[in-house]
Homo-oligomer: 159 residues x 2
């Protein structure tokens, strides 16, 4: 683990503790400040093109969703993957694409939301010519929230 | 129930069915399109000032969170209330305020997120001079996701 990743893990752990404390009877809210945790780049193993992730909040005891904003530059997209406990996407900016295996490539605009059920193989990203940002709300099961698969080929990445 | 509210309820019910179907073994994603459900105004009983709500997705079997964007004009705010199963807020635009009972009024900016634990009495809204929009992710327990209480007085609405 590099230094940046370690700092991020520590920050998220600290957030997680505050978070949990808020749920164990404390009569207060927990505020996760923008910029408190660093952005990270979508790793080349799991993404094509330039992608960066801004954490919003970590998984807590309640609901076990974590949230992050994911920013896709034009042409960038995730690899195929599944979520063991499902994932919501809320598009906040731009125009992008998503596809569940065997289904059509669907175009997404700001204000659209997507529910990807547990175990459904999908990908999501920008279009070849437009950037897209979405909030990802990813549920956790047994400490795991994603299983990465093969890249989306150039042939698959079209509509 | 007026006609508009009835249409909205029907739309949300339809979304809910599609949503549930996606979770019962279907190998596909559910897309909730921006504009598919109408905006509604924050009712005067529970809000001061001009507030409108844009639904994102209804509560599903998974996680039982619903999501909506809530838009507060300057000076507008919710009444005091609690959430039986908790609520996340993700600020998407502008600057606003929130307070948990007994705590300070906290200022919120775009990119900030808030976790309000189950049963914590809070309010949220714009500042007197700036608008604020946030996504509200509200968990449901026994079919209920909010209990409304008294209005936030002019004396409480300051920082």
């Amino acid at each position: 683990m590099n230094k940046r990743a370690m700092i991020m893990t520590m920050l998220l752990a600290a957030c997680g503790l505050a978070h949990a404390a808020g749920e164990n009877g404390a009569r207060e809210q927990t505020i996760f400040r923008a910029g408190a945790a660093p952005s990270s780049n979508g790793p080349a193993a799991n993404f094509d093109g330039k992608v960066h992730v801004d954490p919003l909040f970590p998984a807590g005891a309640q609901g076990s969703f974590s949230a992050a904003t994911v920013n896709f530059e034009p042409g960038s997209r995730s690899a195929w993957h599944t979520h063991p406990a499902g994932q919501y996407l809320i598009v906040t900016k731009g125009t992008g694409w998503t596809q569940a295996e065997g289904g059509p490539v669907e175009e997404l605009h700001a204000g659209d939301a997507v529910w990807c059920p547990p175990g459904v193989k999908h990908w999501h990203g920008a279009t070849p010519t437009t950037a897209m940002s979405h909030i990802a709300l990813t549920a956790t099961r047994d400490g795991k929230n994603v299983e990465w698969l093969e890249k989306v080929s150039a042939q698959q990445y079209r509509r």
